[in-house]
Amino acid sequence: MSLDLDLADFVVERGVDEKVDYVEARLHLTVKNEAILKNGFPELSAVIKAYGIGIRVIVKGALAFGSTNNLERREVKELLKRLIKQATNSRPLFKKPVSFSREKVEVAKWCVEEKRPIEEATGEWLMDKLKELDKAIVERGRNVKDRFLTMNSSLEEKYFVTSEGAKILSRVPRLEFYGVITAYSNGKISQRSVQYGGAGGIESYERIGIYEKTCKEAEVTSKIVEKAKPSPQGSMDLIVGPEVAGIMAHESVGHPQEADRILGREAAQAGESYLNPNDLGVKIGSDQTFVSDDPTIPYSFGFYLFDDEGVKAGRRRLIYGGKISEFLHNRQTASFFNVKSNAAARASEFDKEPIIRMANTYVEPGDYGVEELFKDVKEGVYVKSFMEWNIDDKRLNQRYVGHEAYLVKNGEVKEMILNPVIEITTPKLWSSLDARADDLDFVAATCGKGDPMQGVPVWMGGPHLRFRNVKIGRR
């Protein structure tokens, strides 16, 4: 597949001719192959291919975005004309003119290494893997009756060009598994959904460990309906595994530190933030709280080297030693804050505008061994994975309901418990963090934001974490 690079260049040249303040064009191709296996029976497979151009212009401080998949030059030229007119007409209702931070103009070509190209992950290959997983689930999870399994391989290619001279070509292959299994025993039902994914060729299946992880989930979910006892309630110590650490980092650190939310741009949809623009440096967690977001983790689900505004990506330290240390920026919010963009702008498809997104958000590992974390816990719970979760639209009031969870007594992991509920505020959560283990693991997720809604691939993770004196409830 080759992108029509000349077309994007043409758009930008035309925009410059029209004397707009800024114009960018993004040719964006996404191809996805998907297989579905339900209770051991193949459903039809699917192929989705989206290819088109997304254009942004700024005219006298007014921003307009447009897209089309009709790639005739005449049509694209017409779209550009409409956008310029649209921006001009709406200018009186832009109370604050849009401006972008000044950034290094990048010319680059980047891709994710594939040992075996993702194109080899055909529908039949994907279905074979699902059958392999389904067989293992049935063997390892004797109470698991319902199995809904999907796997997709995808390829994302982009060519980004701006009136400032940026030209960036990229290719990202990905593999993703999503499954929901349901176990039944003695009138009890337990359901588990999992999502694993990463960037890379079809070797990602082994690299991510999809088979091993899925087998483990089948065993655990099967065991929950047989063995889990009611969860204790009250204030106690809490140890969470990397999956729970990851969702906590994503929801209560990553989202509220998106600068567009802080400025109110997502107010009517994904919400705002409990943080204010001048909250950098505010202490929100214990000295043990270190949270980062890093798009450049090799083979990660949220991997990229340059964002969709052409800015070079790197690690963002969101909370450092308990203090808010950095917000996630695109060029517009960076301009408002008078800082450089940290390359958080992403668009999910050609017909979506780039907005601020997380990539791979995680609690940084500490120096405790995992076993060490448990040693001086007299009474507490260990929540290894979760199902139900939510958080308010300022990212302050959150809840995570455990799936695989255990009682901890006198430093030892005891019996399995059913659905312990962690319901806590963001400052209380991170102030209670007292130790981080030296392990680090991630799960994949699709993060939703924007209007129209954009789902983008992310990783979230962390090490095992220990929190002191946290309120635990039960469903």
């Binding site: 192959n33 039809l44 897209s67 009756k145 929901v180 017909d351 939510n390 809604m453």
Partner: protein, 434 residues
């Protein structure tokens, strides 16, 4: 182009095929802090193809309609299908069919200048007490064509305009309003702005609330979010996958006896109305829950075959889905509902509904924007910082009041257009972190 696609598909000696061609124009204005932040303009076409042969089948969608690419897409789809596993499926419905459009469109929506509507919504919210206003206004016009090997052939055109507006008097105090319509003449941005502004004013100085069980009045917006999950759970595909609390419940009482839920392929004001489903069957209205009894799952041909019944014309080739949901109105007016609540909570908006298990329907959701504590049938205080935790089967059987007035709801948290009244639910669990 469609003739070319059909010719190409005919040459492959397929047992079944569907061609759907979509042509859209979508425009949007987003605004924040009383100011536009971006205008958007999307034009696009998409080709959807389904093919089946020798117990194998595949679906494909492409936006890459360049010359040469379509032929190559079809060839590659065919190759992938022939290499795929055999599946259980039903042949497509046999036509020809007659499609009747309910006439509910307004093509002026395609070209109308949207900025005055944004100004009207913002002004109305400010006039009713808001200090700052955010939201999005979008308008669409969609043309759809279908051709199937079963002899179905038809065209449809649909239009819609949607406004989601949120007003603030402070960071803690906000209100929400929605206006959705298939026609400009019945689109009312002022009313959405008025509601948002009024609620933002009423929501000032919110207090916390004690945890416990409450009688809760859910606004049409919140009720629509719940009923959307109910509608989706009637999908036979979801039932089979273990993702529905309605498994083995056909013919059983699943809700209070005055609850009736209908899915409409076409209905006046329904933004997702269609004359035909994705297999070419003329759409229709299906009573899903009638006076509390679950009457049917929704089906495409394949799920219908598995459940030994007829399709309800809700295809989705892969999975059936509701088109436009309607909850029948009850007998209580708005004031009466608050009086009847006696002591309880009013929730005007919610988000982030998530399930511990789709199979059992255990979920929690977070109220946002204005919420109120009611004592002795009167609003006593604005409240915030809590969560509703319940299970949908319990909730459906604990509805003690259904409003007369209904509103069309579609926004970020409700994707399926839903015409819903307010409802009162007894014994909802309130929890909190604050």
């Amino acid at each position: 182009m469609i003739d070319f696609v059909i010719k190409k598909l005919n040459s492959l000696n397929l047992e079944d095929f569907v061609v759907l061609f979509f042509k859209n124009r979508d425009r949007m204005i987003r605004f924040t802090n009383n100011s536009i932040t971006v205008t958007k303009d999307k034009t696009g076409s998409a080709l959807f193809i389904y093919m089946a042969k020798e117990r194998k089948r595949i679906a494909g969608a492409t936006y890459d309609l360049r010359k040469g690419e379509i032929a190559s897409f079809i060839s590659s789809l065919y190759k992938s299908m022939m290499a795929s596993s055999e599946t259980e499926y039903a042949h497509l419905p046999r036509g020809p069919f007659r499609y009747v459009h309910n006439g509910d469109i307004d093509t002026k929506i395609g070209e109308e200048d949207l900025t005055p509507y944004v100004s009207r919504a913002i002004y109305s919210a400010l006039e009713n007490g808001a200090k700052r206003v955010a939201g999005s206004l979008s308008a669409f016009i969609t043309n759809i064509e279908i051709f199937t090997s079963g002899g179905a052939e038809g065209r449809d055109i649909r239009t819609g305009i949607e406004l989601n507006v949120r007003a603030f008097t402070s960071k803690e105090s906000s209100g929400h309003g929605i206006a959705v319509s298939t026609r400009l003449s019945s689109f009312n941005p002022e009313e959405a702005g008025r509601l948002a502004g009024m609620y933002s004013k009423m929501a000032k100085n919110p207090k916390t609330v004690r945890e416990g069980r409450y009688r809760v009045l859910l606004s049409s917006t919140v009720a629509a979010n719940i009923f959307e999950h109910v509608g989706i759970s009637t999908s036979a595909f979801m039932v089979e996958a273990g993702l529905s609390f309605f498994k083995d419940k056909i013919g059983e009482k699943v809700a209070v006896s005055n609850l009736t839920l209908i899915d409409h392929g076409q209905i006046q004001g329904g933004l997702d109305s269609r004359s035909f489903d994705d297999e070419g069957l003329p759409t229709k209205s299906n009573k899903l829950i009638d006076s509390g009894i679950l009457l049917t799952y929704i089906h495409n041909s394949t799920t219908a075959k598995k459940f030994k019944t007829e399709s309800t014309a809700n295809a989705g080739i892969i999975e059936p889905h509701p088109w436009n949901l309607e909850v029948k109105s009850g007998d209580m007016d708005d004031d009466e509902m608050i009086r009847e609540l006696k002591s309880g909570i009013i929730v005007t908006n919610n988000w982030y509904t998530r399930f511990q298990s789709y199979r059992t329907g255990e979920f929690s959701t977070i109220p946002r924007d204005a919420a109120f504590l009611v004592e002795n049938g009167e609003v006593k205080a604005s409240i915030h910082g809590f969560r509703l935790s319940d299970s949908i089967p319990r909730l459906l059987n604990s509805i003690s009041g259904i409003g007369k007035k209904r509103r069309w709801i579609k926004w970020w948290e409700v994707e399926t257009p839903t015409l819903s009244p307010q409802i009162i639910v007894d014994g909802m669990t309130v929890t909190k972190a604050l």
